[in-house]
Subunit: 129 residues, 2 copies
């Protein structure tokens, strides 16, 4: 993407992009060291809701709050453009009653899942164009 | 993706998928806490080559070796299938002379870049089908 410019998005556009996305990647400290997991999610207010399987290392964060980084990336390889939104914040398990809207499905239909809430503390968006 | 099954891929298939991919996400410890960055990369042997901009937190890992997690995810939302390959290993700056093949371009054409080499210590692949 040489010659392309990186543009910082304003808060409104950043939040809009995050609200339309459904899949992100979360980075966190696990018992196995720094780890990364793709997740389905839903944004509501200043909270990102993630439902993860109990068997994965992400579920270790349930007792929280734990500091994490969360990224949504959209790439158009043909047009060589894209955008990314990064969230920093703290995550912990939340009750189903906290979930305001549609439930984010986990990747795979395991019987045991944990609903996590990531409280957004910092939100930044960038576009390559 | 309820009802879908998660299948562990064998080593050969995992390595093939990683070799054809060009974009991944890397999770690491930065001066700002746990962080995540999308990167272009190239696989060669047991090394993943990443060229990143000097201005980013990822370049902080240059002195290395630092433990990181790296993930490539492919999703087909229409077919509700996908695969992911996760790498654990240590990263540090490498010289251009170490680069055997095509140079991985950074996201944006900044003048200053750092070439990092991620030595693969653990490689796992999974498919949702």
């Amino acid at each position: 993407m040489s010659g392309k410019a990186l543009v910082t998005l304003d808060d409104a556009e950043t939040r809009d992009l995050l609200g339309t996305a459904r899949v992100g990647h979360i980075a966190y400290e696990s018992s196995r060291g720094v780890d990364i997991t793709p997740v389905n999610f839903r944004l509501s207010g200043d909270m990102i809701y993630i439902r993860t399987v109990e068997a994965g290392t992400l579920a270790e964060l349930a007792p929280g709050p734990e500091q994490v980084a969360f990224l949504v990336t959209y790439l158009d390889r043909l047009a060589q453009t894209g955008w990314s939104v990064k969230v920093r914040g703290t995550i912990r398990a939340v009750g189903d009653a906290d979930l305001p809207d549609v439930d984010p499905e986990p990747w795979v239909g395991f019987p045991g899942t944990v609903l996590l809430g990531l409280a957004i503390e910092e939100l930044t968006g960038r576009r390559v164009a």
